[in-house]
């Protein structure tokens, strides 16, 4: 998840928490002040909630892992570029590694 998406998500959650707390306080006062108990939620709390929800969704979508192309050839191209070919094990064959040779090679280049 990138920094921006994390920031958006956290901000959205804070905003949502604030809105929730405000709504709680609002209904608390309504009950204790015994004014018209049918009063609807103030518009600013509603706006805050909806904005927070939208921002959260945005943060999540922005932070999601990138989609992969469905076409195998296109996907393989990307992998090949980044050196992540899923088939390279067939040519490197870790099960058959020659550990003595690898060690010798490494030691000789280090000197």
């Amino acid at each position: 998840m990138s920094f921006i998406s994390t920031a958006i998500t956290v901000f959205a959650l804070l905003l949502l928490f604030h809105a929730g707390y405000s709504a709680y306080e609002f209904s608390h006062y309504l009950k204790h002040l015994t004014v018209n108990s049918n009063a609807t939620l103030p518009i600013d709390i509603i706006t805050e909630t909806i904005v927070a929800t939208g921002l959260f969704a945005l943060g999540q979508v922005l932070g999601a892992d990138k989609l992969r192309p469905v076409s195998f050839a296109k996907w393989a191209k990307g992998l090949e570029r980044e050196g992540k070919s899923p088939f390279s094990f067939l040519e490197r064959r870790p099960g058959y590694m020659n550990v003595t040779k690898l060690r010798e090679e490494y030691a000789s280049t280090k000197k």
Partner: protein, 109 residues
Amino acid sequence: MDEKERKQAIYPISTESLQQNGKNVYYIRSVTSTIFGVSAGILGLESYYGFLFYFAGTAFVSLLLFLLLARGQPTEYFASANDIWIGNALTGLSSFVLTWTLFYGLVDA
């Protein structure tokens, strides 16, 4: 071997990609619907309005997925364009109902 099968063999589709993308979308759907439930509870929505809120939110997420994640080309990343609009639309419903109920009760002091 019919024509379609042949084409599929020549230019194969990566099932791994399909699965991965599906999982991606599924995750976003379920996390966002949980938060939709929280919001619906805070807003004190009742009956139809709550479910309407859920579907509106889901549609909004679909739009975001279409524009930001699939960059307007859902067929590049999914078996069909519907997968991004309709697919998984109901997966988050039970989570939505859970958090909706919870916060509906919590906010009501």
